[in-house]
Symmetry: C2
Subunit: 450 residues, 2 copies
């Protein structure tokens, strides 16, 4: 691939980076050495071959999403250390723990309720649901290296895939959804309102959200299925824990403060990562965490290294013109197709291109305009094309462990290996595509979108 | 400080950042919480007050020097894990271990020999001398939390302060020395040749290098002073270790390869950090280090966090015009002084301004031009002014634990606390100033520099 001719519009280094990135992804699949090592070699090769200057090669380590992920692990550490996570977990179990499925639905509903007010799906999961889900696993004695199947892998995968669908539901439930709306306005002149977006998403979305826990329940059956004693056990455990300790109260206060700043961000424009590091700063000052807890939080540094490397490579592919060239090539090819196969191909290629992205935002920025443009020019009704592509911009994040912020967080918890992650991701993606096209298209006709 | 009026030429946020940076430094001195926490709060405040955008606030974590420091800890981990460090340590002890002073001089001489060919003092120490010195400490049973005074704090401080002087010795023994020469050429028209630089530095430099181990020997006396048995003990230990293991040989090979690429960098221009991460990459591929060793290397992440934060703040002070404004203010004030006090004040202010810098390069970039300019205009002979300022650009790095790349490396080893580090740094700085002015000035007269 290294020696491929450089297409016009692509910078010379673009093809080299594409070769390194592809080799890294193949390495992640074949795994001659561990994941971190593979990505690290990718970073080294990028710098050593002068494909990117060393400064840009390291740029992923200063990426705001990467640091949001780092803070997720630090916040989760606070939940574990103070015992607050354990307490919340037992409260969830007490209320919803009669069955694993019920527990899972209760978490999905919680995220659903929170989502319209919290556009960063990484913050939503890293700051809130990951710490709770992780604590729930431990409360059931399900650890990554000790019976992950007990309930951990089920809860982790369900929450992750539910988040992907929840991100698609509202204009404000994923950070880059407004960007998709903005691009739509620029290209088609149509303004997608909050209500239009939600109306179109709610039916297929709710069907997806109902089916995902059931599907994953079949694919990764938790050993704990029903537990009639769970309520009593949880009550006993909560009694044993006694009243909240001072550190738990402090952490709970920080938690709500951070949540409040996140939810009100429209009013003050404080960046989601700023709020997150502010929360960690408070945890340090108020002695919820010691500095030694922070530097020993291996999962955080692991995720920073491998996800930071992938973000750098995937992001630079866009900058060097590779994605633009790919989009244009595909577009110019599809424009000669009849309407229906063209539309299906546009949606599928757009969806599965996400194997090459480490961020929904990056994918929308790089590919949404060209693909929307071509869909409209082959004759797809503009609002239909825009909404379908916008929803798919979220749904496509189910396929890898680096597809969007929450992916490295849940993946790095260690409950699911990469092969299983990709396999289940693919199955869920097929189910979502069937639902959102098969039910979505007729439903949107009813809604009057086309 | 936050509410100070903004001088012209300084961006509005500059004074805010100055306030945060100063508060951070005061925090480092008073230590209401640990160092890492203080710097983290500084980072949080920088972002939260919108003094810098969050992207720039995180920029220190993508800094090439910061990553050179991270690799230093990873390379040292390889030396420890394979036992190669222990072996090299015992070879040093066998050859020079009759006295602690002798051992220390042998290390200083080794760095002296290597230095003209290796301009990055961070790589020189992080990649070569830190792993050896750290292994020596352990070979003597001197660990940070268990008898650091035995020999560790002595060896660490001596090597650090010797490195500062060695950096000043040659045009090519510190990465930014050629920059000082370049600025000199631009301002005064005088070209400082390699031989001129070395001739001027060699006499005061050698005096400094002879006195530093003696001074630190007095200030931080090692408990192990003379050891007539050390040769026999070292020989026995080496015999016990037997032949080199495969991993040791592999690491030694990587070590020499990295050294070779560093030394030949004039020919291929591979960035010093690229070479360093390449070395770490080889260590991963050739299984000298596991990925789990890397993510568990707390010292590396500690240094990345606190040094990365300080580099970001100190670097941005320059960009926002604060340093330029400071230099110009001082200059315009000094220009009315008589020659001798003006010269001494110029040199002293230039020197101790380094409390506000986390890099020699940054200091030279930000302050060398203004201070050279003013020295020349008050009537100091240009070559004298240029050389004195250039040498001081290196020597000033003795005063803090964040002054230059090797500082966080040796400091984070944990043998010397911050108060002692600053105290001894100040004493060494006074000694160096006396030597380089008291002996330097007359000697440079003899050399015909003025």
């Amino acid at each position: 691939m290294w020696f491929l001719p450089v297409p016009s519009g692509v910078e010379a280094n673009g093809i080299h980076l594409l070769a390194i990135f592809s080799a890294t992804i193949v390495g992640l699949i074949l795994k001659p050495i561990g994941m971190g090592g593979i990505v690290f070699i990718g970073i080294v090769m990028t710098a050593l071959t002068n494909t990117l200057p060393i400064k840009e090669t390291l740029s992923g380590f200063a990426n705001t999403t990467v640091w949001l992920i780092v803070t997720a692990f630090l916040i989760a550490r606070g939940f574990i250390k103070t015992g607050l996570g354990r307490r919340i977990a037992f409260i969830f179990i007490k209320l919803f723990g009669r069955s694993s499925l019920g527990l899972s639905y209760s978490l999905v509903i919680s995220e659903f309720i929170l989502s319209p007010a919290m556009p960063s799906n990484t913050a939503r999961n890293g700051g809130i649901f990951y710490p709770i889900v992780r604590s729930l696993c431990s409360a059931y004695g399900s650890e990554p290296d000790d019976s992950p199947q007990k309930i951990g892998s089920f809860l982790i995968l369900t929450q992750f895939h539910a988040d992907i669908v929840i991100s698609a539901l509202f204009l404000t439930s994923m950070a880059a959804n407004p960007l998709a709306a903005e691009i739509t306005k620029n290209i088609t002149g149509i303004e997608i309102m909050w209500t239009t977006w939600a109306l179109g998403a709610i039916l297929p979305g709710i069907i997806s959200l109902i089916l995902i826990p059931l599907l994953i329940y079949k694919l990764v059956p938790p050993e704990i299925k029903v537990s009639s004693k769970s309520k009593t056990v949880a009550e006993e455990e909560l009694k044993k824990m006694g009243k909240m300790k001072k550190e738990e109260k402090v952490l709970l206060g920080i938690f709500f403060l951070v949540l409040f700043i996140w939810i009100t961000s429209n009013f003050h424009n404080i960046h989601v990562t700023t709020t997150a590091i502010f929360g960690v700063g408070l945890m340090i000052v108020l002695r919820v965490l010691d500095w030694s807890d922070i530097i020993a939080e291996k999962d955080a540094w692991d995720a920073m290294l491998w996800f930071g490397g992938l973000v750098m490579m995937a992001g630079s592919l866009s900058k060097l013109g590779v994605i633009g060239w790919f989009s244009n090539t595909v577009s110019s090819y599809l424009i000669n197709f009849p309407l229906t196969p063209a539309l299906i191909l546009i949606l599928l290629i757009y969806f599965y291109s996400h194997y090459g992205f480490a961020s929904m935002t990056a994918h929308i920025t790089a590919m949404f305009p060209a693909f929307l443009g071509v869909a409209v020019s082959v004759g797809v009704p503009p609002l239909l094309a825009a909404l379908a592509l916008a929803y798919f911009s979220n749904l496509n994040a189910s396929i890898t462990h680096y597809a969007t912020g929450p992916a490295p967080i849940y993946f790095n918890a260690g409950y699911v290996d990469q092969i299983k992650w990709w396999k289940i991701g693919f199955i869920v993606s097929v189910m979502n595509i069937i639902i959102w096209i098969g039910i979505g298209f007729p439903y949107w006709k009813l809604c009057g979108f086309w």
